[in-house]
């Protein structure tokens, strides 16, 4: 365990005992991390998703047996909450990627948000976990409860949309 994860584990143990200052410092530690996951998946609903994810994390912190597993546990809650929030907000939009950006679309050239918006929340989740968080396809599949084959196909289609957007 390095210094950072030791400190996080100590904060978790103190928060589990009801120490409000530890909860405060844990929020300082977790909020940017959860925000980095929820932002690209939930987009405009990112702050709502991050808020709900952190509520779930703090309500469940007493049940976290291994404080060293904090970030992995928080990550899975954040991804699930971001996908749920994005799906709800997306409403009638199809869940699968069906409107790949067109090459030369001027709005897409500089704005990653626009490209992400054209992906389903599930595609965005795969992209965030694989390309932003650097997890392997197997780990991504386990986290999202989908097969490695589905991870690969979603990743391929998501990356294709970026390539087309920035061609």
């Amino acid at each position: 365990m390095n210094d950072g994860s030791e400190r996080a584990a100590a904060l978790v143990r103190a928060a589990q005992r009801g120490d409000g200052m530890a909860m405060h410092d844990l929020l300082d530690l977790l909020a940017p991390y959860v925000g980095r996951i929820c932002g690209p998946i939930a987009l405009d609903d990112g702050p709502d998703a991050a808020q709900e994810a952190l509520i779930a994390i703090f309500r469940g912190i007493r049940g976290l047996r291994d404080p060293g597993a904090l970030f992995g546990w928080a990550r899975s809650i954040a991804v699930r909450e971001a996908v749920r929030m994005a799906r709800r907000s997306q409403g009638a939009r199809p869940a699968e990627l069906d409107d790949v950006p067109q090459p030369g679309d001027p709005q897409l050239a500089a704005d990653i948000r626009d490209v992400l918006r054209r992906l389903s929340p599930e595609h965005r989740a795969v992209l965030v976990l694989r390309d932003l968080e650097g997890h392997g396809e197997r780990a991504v599949g386990e986290l999202l409860e989908i097969s490695t084959g589905t991870v690969k196909s979603r990743l391929h289609r998501a990356r294709l949309s970026f390539r087309k957007a920035w061609r």
């Binding site: 929020l27 932002g39 808020q51 509520i55 703090f58 912190i61 990653i112 390309d131």
Partner: protein
């Protein structure tokens, strides 16, 4: 693609306090939008020694005994002489405090020329209500009373 700037979801102070209020068992929470500028509202909220006794009527005095960056230690005395030592974190738009028996927080965010203000408080142990100088704020006086008083105190300061 990993070099790209990904959109991040930021959490303002009020969202942070909602999280804490949802996480702390039995917390009292109130939130409202005040028709007052953020700077004026927070000048009152952050003035622990002068304003805290006005906001929380069970507190007679509040004295800051130690300061280290955004971390403070403060000593509260209640109307009936009770004492409580608080650890405090004070930042623009954010105040979080804890004593042996209580946890409390205030948060404010500017919304154009108005301010969204939130307050929370919770007892850490059963029975604390009987011995702690601030504990009545969590019972007979709900958090909305604190918000009403902060609006009144802010308006009074501005009129001076």
């Amino acid at each position: 693609m990993t070099d790209t700037i990904w959109p991040e979801a930021g959490l303002d102070s009020v969202r942070r306090l909602r999280i804490m209020a949802a996480a702390v068992p039995g917390a009292v929470y109130a939130e409202d939008v005040l028709a007052l500028p953020f700077e004026e509202v927070w000048a009152v909220a952050a003035d622990l020694e002068s304003e805290f006794p006005h906001l929380l009527t069970d507190v007679r005095t509040m004295r800051v005994t130690r300061a280290d960056g955004d971390r403070f230690e403060a000593l509260a005395r209640g109307r009936f002489g009770q004492r409580a030592r608080f650890d405090v974190v004070l930042r623009p738009g954010w105040c979080w405090m804890q004593s042996r028996f209580l946890i409390g927080g205030m948060a404010a965010v500017a919304e154009a020329d108005r301010t969204r203000f939130a307050f929370m408080g919770a007892l850490r142990v059963p029975g604390a209500r009987l011995v702690h100088p601030l504990s009545h704020v969590l019972g007979g006086t709900p958090g909305s009373g604190v918000i009403r008083r902060i609006a009144e105190r802010t308006a009074a300061r501005t009129e001076r």
